[in-house]
Symmetry: C2
Subunit: 407 residues, 2 copies
């Protein structure tokens, strides 16, 4: 008998039929003897409908009231699923975040969970009931309703799993697991049985949008075993744990990429202390997020400085950088918003040499010019022209034998 937390997103509960399908799945697991806590999002489209209503009231709706409004979305789905479970003869009770109680700080629309009271949940589980909890929401110390912001239902599920010391937290989505790379780019991509939190974080931050980064971080922090599965297909999905449980780990686990990159370079900057801050300060002040940063000494007393930003911020960043160039007396600014980032990710890198050179050799053999390189302990990212994205992903996928990974 396992204690499992199941989380279903908006698409999985997007209609009466789908809610009933979720009830079937939960009932089956419960019948097998597992203790189940279900965490739900709002029906897909519902949150947007409510936000549209709010904007008719107030251009910038008050955040406290926004949370009162949008938290109704999950309250509706937990009641409906519980009814569907009762209809199948499965004992169950629904709880809002406030009822549980999921105590958060008072940062409306982006609250952080402080503490979860597990008393009601444990009591129901011990009585053999399924517990159905509204995701995405909590309550502050004054009794105000709060919501957790983007990906909040995943966070609720992980936090409850941590509080209950659940065996696994299952995140049901519209994909059936984490893949070695995007199957739309490389049809030979394989589903991974297992991946570590660190790898998952790197994959997620690179655009593999299976899970919200915040919930993966949270799961890692509290050592909650996460499993990503499909709501619609049978299968074991991908298990994400803190430790690498494989005896012999693969060199790399996957290839991630991000199409939304743009690159800016300022050259001939007088190389003085604090130059990085002078260049990036105005960018940060404009709320533009910088991704990769590379600095080279170009010659004598000047330096070249290159960084990437999201493409939507490219024009603003370029204008700011032109100003900085004039202020610092640098030579010139160049930019390119037709580049992409391709990364190989894997904890195997730690213990194996030669991964980087295999990557660079593979790309060179395909005639792909590397424009920028950045590395972390378990990731190597390169920037290449966007026209090479598919070629690069497929070549690396083959070179690291990801199509042969054990399923």
């Amino acid at each position: 008998m396992a204690l499992l937390v199941y989380k279903f997103g908006g698409t999985s509960v997007g209609s009466a039929e789908r809610i009933k399908a979720v009830a079937d799945k939960v009932k089956k697991a419960h019948d097998m003897g597992d203790q189940i806590v279900v965490v739900l999002s709002a029906m897909s489209g519902e949150t947007n409908r409510l936000i549209a209503l709010a904007k008719q009231m107030q251009a910038q709706p008050t955040e406290r009231e926004m949370d009162v409004l949008i938290s109704t979305g999950e309250q509706v789905t937990v009641a409906l699923l519980t009814m569907a479970l009762h209809d199948l003869g499965c004992e169950a009770s629904s709880y809002t975040g406030a009822q549980v109680k999921i105590l958060t700080d008072s940062s409306f629309t982006k609250a952080r969970i402080r503490k979860i009271d597990d008393a009601k949940l444990r009591k129901d589980l011990d009585a053999g009931k399924v517990v159905v909890v509204a995701g995405f929401q909590g309550v502050d110390e004054l009794g105000n309703i709060t919501t957790l912001g983007r990906g909040g239902s995943d966070t609720t599920a992980v936090a409850i799993a941590a509080a209950l010391k659940a065996d696994e937290c299952h995140i049901y989505t519209d994909v059936d697991g984490v893949y070695t790379t995007d199957p739309r780019v490389e049809p030979k991509a394989r589903r991974l049985d297992h991946i570590t939190f660190e790898e998952m974080l790197e994959m997620a931050s690179l655009g593999s949008k299976v899970l919200q980064i915040r919930s993966v971080e949270f799961a890692g922090k509290y050592n909650v075993a996460l499993r990503v599965l499909s709501s619609f297909k049978e299968g074991n999905g991908t298990l994400i744990t803190y430790e690498d449980t494989q005896m012999e780990s693969a060199l790399i686990s996957g290839i991630a990429f991000n199409r939304d990159e743009a690159k800016l370079t300022i050259t001939g900057v007088p190389d003085l202390p604090g130059v990085a801050f002078k260049i990036l300060g105005p960018i940060a002040d404009a709320n533009i997020e910088v991704d990769m940063i590379v600095q080279n000494i170009a010659d004598d007393a000047t330096t070249d400085f290159t960084f990437t930003v999201d493409r939507k911020d490219y024009q603003r960043a370029l204008a700011l950088l032109e100003q900085t160039c004039a202020d610092l007396g640098a030579r010139k600014v160049t930019g390119d918003n037709t580049i992409v980032k391709v990364s190989i990710v894997g904890v195997g890198m730690r213990s194996h040499a030669g991964i980087a050179s295999t990557m660079f050799k593979t790309l060179a053999e395909e005639g792909i010019n590397i424009r920028m390189i950045a590395t972390s302990e378990i990731k190597i990212s390169v920037v290449v022209d966007e026209k090479y994205l598919e070629l690069a992903v497929r070549a690396l996928h083959a070179a690291f034998e990801l199509d042969k990974i054990s399923a």
Copy 2:
């Protein structure tokens, strides 16, 4: 400066535009210096939409979960109105029933209010804020969400007015007050400035569906001054108070009628003790509500017994009565489902003689045959053929000079 509770029903908050109109009205009253608590229903249609979803889950949805589900309707409107008030620069906060807290018993879908904690409301009012409360809902001692059943938002408003000792509780509806009779039947019908609780109860129970009986009873019990007004038209509406505040009260306040009546008679019943129970027992067991009851000694040792029921129950009641007739050895059963009830209502009856005779004389002069009579302290009801309804109402309206009532 008055402390007022405003209640707006589903039609009054049925769209973004209407919610904004409510915000305007509240803002104006608040600007005049009044302290305002607003109680809201769900947007019209929303509760039905949610119930339809529930029925797709479970033919007979679990009542606890039904309350979790449908209480979201009011939670949405309180958040939206509060945003609209903020948009007008009016300080306000929303509260669900649980947040207030409106403590009820645990009778899901038809809970009764036990106690209202006025701390949060008073604090906000003292700080100059408008308080916006979700109607129709509360919370039980275990923290379960409950709803109050039909007319629940009116009840919430009255209960909050009682708890806060508000000066008046304003019920905004789609009519602009209580009329001397239905203006669709008698165009000369006049809006009453004032009516007593007892009169209002008699009017309401007789089919003047301006207010739910339960909220009128509740207001009477706690001596809360109720005012019925239109959400859409300006005006002072009708004030309903416990005492008759007029120096010189009108003889009668209004003429109510009910088209949904049917009459059944059993004649030649051997007149023995317990006969009324033997006749009405099977009717009550079948959950058929009996309205008027008249018993006459017909001759020697037998009695005639007549009563009215709702027309929808007529056929069932008739069949039951035929069986009783056979069991008791009575003569025969007759029935008529083309009758109506017309009533005059007024506290003035208590101190004035001759009201009944004026009524009977008026009807006789119009050639209207009275089929049945029943009286209470402040009401006289007659049953007549349905074809005479309009004639009877207009004749009585003129006879008691209701068209001349002081406005």
